[in-house]
Amino acid sequence: MNAKRLLLFSGSPRKKGTSYSFSRTIKMLAEDSGSTANIIHVIDYYDGKEAFEGLKGLISQSDTIAMISPLYADTLPYFDIWFLEKLKNEFINELRGKNFFAIGQSGLPDITRIMPLLDSCRLFAEEMGMKWLGGLAYGGGVMINGTLLENFGKKGQKIILGFRHAMQDILQDKRISPESQELITMRIPKLLFWPLSAYLNSNIRRQAHENGNADYKKKVYLE
């Protein structure tokens, strides 16, 4: 397996959240295989902390690029769509021919909700003339909440295993196999959604109490 150079776009405005935790693991797995990986935070380019022009060199030097992002309103967050639009306008020549893959993560367990995010990334890759290596969807990001995967017990180990499996494909320029998705998919029987919602709601009420009995049902825009 030849050493590859990866460029990872961490797409969350929360720089220490679950998308970063996933990006960090992907970087470590790439380095374990003798490849290199750079993580950049999309938010830093939006906020002007990093110069967009600097991406030209990073993209040119990379073999494989990834978007690792949370689900906001059923697809990529605004920042990431802004970023992809800008990449399309400015670096289409540099992106052509590179590999591209994506990882989407949602707070809620149903991974089918993440498909529009992954499809948008695939369509971006197709428009740019990139090679789409596939996407992975993780439901349950709210429980990870930025925890480093090696500190997330058995579930974290299973996600790392799934990512390692995916990296074997990615580093050979192959499509990510379905087994990787199987490994990271958290299966919660739908019957348990009711007790789960009751548990989550009790946490919400506790947080409201801690915030001075905040009226979280307030219809502020009808006042």
């Binding site: 969350s12 405005p13 929360r14 938010i43 939006y46 949370p70 906001y72 309103a73 059923d74 697809t75 990529l76 967050p77 605004y78 920042f79 769509i81 802004w82 992809l84 639009e85 809620l108 367990p109 149903d110 909700r113 498909m115 529009p116 499809d119 948008s120 990334c121 695939r122 369509l123 971006f124 197709e126 428009e127 739908k190 959604f193 009711w194 789960l196 919602s197 989550l200 709601n201 919400i204 947080q207 409201a208 915030n211 905040a214 009226d215 979280y216 049902k217 307030k218 219809k219 502020v220 825009y221 009808l222």
Partner: protein, 182 residues
């Protein structure tokens, strides 16, 4: 009950004006937001709209005008060029703020965990303008509108307009929408 239009078209176009004229024929109040002329600060998922400022984003921007109108309307129409199978960044910036239209609580509906709506159910219409021939772009757009509507527990309809089509076809499509809105 009013109709709220989030118009994310990026330049001069005949679709916005035809749609505006057609919707005016419904006789209902139309509240039209041209997003390219608005100042909306993006959601950074700070969580303040849950408890610190319940139901209201703490950022001072034009999104409050939109959210106030959506909270009171019966029909929400989103008009956008299709970008990577979804909304343009300009529309997505507004849609990301819809988080505050739901409660932080959870409920189970149709076998899914969802957030209950804060302002009741509405009718959502997603109109994508797309000049290409990729079925994947159109399918992704339809799925995104469907998912948005499902999460917000709104009824919905999706319409895809070809930017190159003649205006008669656009008028017919908008006419069929008008019947649903009425």
């Amino acid at each position: 009950m009013s109709i709220v239009m989030l118009d994310a078209m990026e330049g001069e176009n005949c679709i916005s004006s035809k749609l505006r004229a057609k919707l005016a024929e419904t006789g209902r109040e139309i509240i039209w937001f041209e997003l390219k002329n608005m100042s909306i600060l993006p959601c950074r998922s700070c969580g303040a709209c849950n408890f610190k400022s319940p139901g209201k984003c703490v950022l001072q921007d034009d999104s409050h005008e939109i959210l106030r109108a959506v909270a009171r309307c019966s029909t929400l129409v989103m008009l956008t060029p299709i970008r990577f199978g979804g909304y343009t960044s300009n529309l997505k910036k507004a849609v990301d703020k819809f988080m505050s239209l739901s409660l932080p609580l959870y409920t189970v509906k149709h076998g899914h965990l969802l957030h209950p709506t804060r302002y009741g159910s509405k009718f959502m219409i997603g109109i994508g303008v797309y000049g290409g021939n990729s079925k994947g772009q159109e399918d992704c757009f339809r799925r995104l509108v469907e998912n948005n509507a499902f999460n917000m527990q709104y009824a919905h309809r999706t319409l895809i307009l070809k930017s190159s089509e003649d205006m008669e076809k656009v008028k017919q499509e908008i006419g069929s929408l008008q019947k649903e809105v009425c």
